[in-house]
């Protein structure tokens, strides 16, 4: 079953912060975050593993609450380059199933 993401869309001014949430109805062993720009392939951001530490990538970080079966992606001091659609993915079989995505628009 696909994870559920919220919000569906976010519009920010450059420099503002954003939080994107991902939740699942089943137990999670890992959560994957990808970003996709329009017309391009999804690009890997980070993986959070069960029992692992919070990850960070420049000003983008994420947390993983195993008990609540949730993950959150934090974008700090957003830049124009952060615009795109963010997907969280959870394990299904040997691959991933992704949420419907969160559209992030950064305005100057």
């Amino acid at each position: 079953q696909q994870p559920v993401q919220s919000p569906q869309a976010v519009i920010l001014r450059e420099g503002e912060d954003a939080v994107i949430n991902c939740s699942s109805s089943k137990a999670l062993y890992s959560v994957h975050w990808y970003r996709q720009k329009h017309g391009e392939a999804p690009v890997f951001l980070m993986i959070l593993l069960k029992g692992g530490e919070q990850k960070g990538h420049d000003k983008i970080s994420a947390s993983f609450n195993e008990k609540k079966q949730q993950s959150s992606l934090y974008l700090t001091a957003s830049q124009l380059s952060y615009s795109g659609t963010y997907f969280c993915g959870t394990e299904v079989l040997d691959g991933l199933t992704f949420g419907k995505g969160t559209h992030l628009i950064i305005q100057p």
Partner: protein, 113 residues
């Protein structure tokens, strides 16, 4: 150049026709995956392969066939295309199964009339 390439990038075909989407990777990754991306549905796993000659169904395999005779190639075939299969198809590869990092191709936009 090393990477994962999909062909064609765009394809228009008619209902009932057979169409094959190609995927080629140069990393010698063991795992390869096919996903479809539809508005309002995100990415869903169609088929995956752990190695040459080993393939398994994903979440939405109906109407699709895959093969993997060589490690580097993983073609996806729609044996009798239907309008509901209009979508953007992404191929991905990974050195391991999930939770390994997946590297995606640029996608094939398929329209079925």
């Amino acid at each position: 150049d090393a990477g994962i390439t999909q062909s064609p990038r765009y394809k228009i075909t008619e209902t009932g026709r057979q169409v094959t989407l190609m995927c080629h990777q140069t990393w010698s990754h063991s795992y390869m995956f096919w996903y479809r991306q539809d508005l309002g549905h995100g990415l869903r796993l169609i088929y995956y392969s752990a190695a040459a000659d080993i393939t398994d169904k994903g979440e939405v395999p109906d109407g699709y066939v895959v093969s993997r005779s060589k490690t580097e190639n993983f073609p996806l075939t729609l044996e009798s295309a239907t309008r509901s299969q209009t979508s953007v198809y992404f191929c991905a590869s990974s050195p391991t199964k999930a939770p390994g990092t997946q590297h995606f191709g640029d996608g094939t936009r398929l329209s079925i009339l």
